[in-house]
Symmetry: C2
C-alpha cells in the first residue's frame, strides 16, 4: 500500500479561507511538506499552524529567498526523494501551497517529478486575484470581459501589450518592480483605473488603496495591481 | 442595528470546496439568497443544501435561463429591495455565488446596488479555472507565464488575438460555442496543446479530456477549454 500525494491550496493567508477538504486532509495526513525560507517561518505552514497536532512528520522544502538564482532542480529532486520515502511505506503526504497549487505554485515541480509514479490529488485553493478583488470590494470581471494575469517581472513592452489587449489586468508579484510598473501605468493614462493590494487576508498586515495613493510605499513580493480599462457590468 | 450583506463564493460544485469562512457564515446567517433558474434547482443552493437547517429565510433570485435577453436590471432591483427589508431589521444576508463572487459572478449586480448603503463583505471562492486545472492534473501557469481568461462568446478575431498573446488561455462558458471554438483552435494548430473540462468537481458528472478527444460531445454552459501554447516550468 503506497500513500497518496496531495497538493493542497491553503489560500491567500487567512486560516479560515482554506476549504473544508483542505482542512480534512491537513488534519488527517501523517506527513506535511511545505516551502520554507532559509531563515524565518514558512508562510504556507503559518496559515494552518493551529491545525497541526503533535506527532505529524514535517518536511520543510527550503528555498533560498535572497538570491535570484538558486539550485531549484536540485532542491525539488531532494524534496521528492524525501517525500517518496513516506509514500512508499503507505503514508499520505500533503504538500501545502500558498494560494492555489497550479496557479504559479511551486508544488507543480514536485508534481512533475512524482505524478507518473504515485496517486496524486490536487485540492484547488483561493487564488490571490480573487482575494484582492474581495478585499478591495472591486468586482473583477463580468459578462464577456477578458481578464489577463501577468507577472510584474515581464518587460515594459509585454506589460503594455497585455494591459492594452485585456479589459482587466492583474499584475502579480509587484515587489521591487513597483516603481517601473506604476510609471508605465501612469504613462498609459490608466492610473485612475488601477488599484493596489498587498497581503489582503492577513490580519493586521493587509493594505489596499487606489494606485494614485500608493506614493513611495515599500511594496512586498506578495502584492498586486489591478487595472480595469473597462468592464461590461454597467448596463445591468 | 442593520444587518451585513455577505457575497459568499461557494466554489465550483463540490460541497467540501467551500471555505471554512463560507461554511461558518452560511450556517449562521438567518437569510440566504441565491440565483435560481425559472425551472429546476439552484446550482449555488445545491452545493450547500445539506448545511441549510430549517428556519432559514430563503430568497431565490430567479433568472430566466432560456432566453438571451431578460430584464436583468429589473430582477436585481427587485432582489435588492427584498434583501434590504431583511438588512433593515438587523438580519445578516448571505448571497451564495457559484465559484467566486467577483469572477463573472452575478452577485456584483447586488453589490452595485447595495454596497454604498450597507456593510458588505466578500468571501472569495474557488474559481473554476483552478478547479479544472486540478481535475485535469494540469499545472496551469508558473514563473512569468501570462494567463488570459476569455469568455467563449467573444468573436473569432478576439479569441485568436487573446490566445496568441498569452502563454495560457482559459476559454470559459464554452456551451453552444464549442464547435466554433474547437475549429478555431484546430486552425491555429493548437489542438494538441488544449484540454477540455466540464463540471469538474461535481460527483458523477465530471468530465475532462484532451481537446482532440472531444468529438461531437454536447457541451454544457459550465465548461472550459484550456490552451497552453507554452509554459515556463520545463527548466526546473
Amino acid at each position: 500500500m503506497v500513500g497518496t500525494l496531495y497538493g493542497v491550496g491553503v489560500g491567500p493567508g487567512a486560516p479560515d479561507l482554506i476549504t473544508l477538504r483542505a482542512f480534512r486532509l491537513i488534519t488527517a495526513a501523517p506527513v506535511i511538506a511545505y516551502p520554507a525560507p532559509d531563515t524565518g517561518e514558512s508562510f504556507a505552514r503559518s496559515i494552518v499552524g493551529d491545525m497541526l497536532h503533535d506527532g505529524k512528520i514535517e518536511v520543510p522544502i527550503v528555498i533560498p529567498m535572497r538570491t535570484e538564482r538558486y539550485p531549484a532542480a536540485e532542491i525539488y529532486d531532494r524534496a521528492s526523494t524525501e517525500i517518496t520515502t513516506h509514500l512508499d511505506v503507505g503514508r499520505d503526504c500533503v504538500v501545502l501551497c500558498e494560494g492555489d497549487p497550479f496557479f504559479y505554485g511551486s508544488y507543480m515541480y514536485l508534481h512533475d517529478r512524482l505524478a507518473d509514479r504515485y496517486a496524486c490529488e490536487i485540492v484547488p485553493g483561493i487564488a490571490s486575484p480573487m482575494a484582492s478583488a474581495a478585499a478591495l470590494g472591486l468586482p473583477l470581471v463580468s459578462r464577456n470581459d477578458v481578464l489577463t494575469i501577468v507577472p510584474a517581472p515581464s518587460d515594459d513592452d509585454a506589460l503594455r501589450a497585455q494591459i492594452t489587449a485585456a479589459d482587466v489586468t492583474v499584475i502579480m508579484k509587484v515587489g521591487r518592480h513597483a516603481k517601473r510598473v506604476v510609471e508605465l501605468i501612469a504613462a498609459m493614462g490608466l492610473t485612475d483605473c488601477a488599484h493596489y493590494a498587498e497581503r489582503v487576508t492577513i490580519e493586521g498586515a493587509q493594505f489596499t488603496c487606489p494606485l494614485a495613493k500608493l506614493g513611495d510605499r515599500t511594496v512586498p513580493y506578495f502584492s498586486m495591481i489591478i487595472v480595469q480599462r473597462k468592464t461590461q457590468r454597467g448596463d445591468v
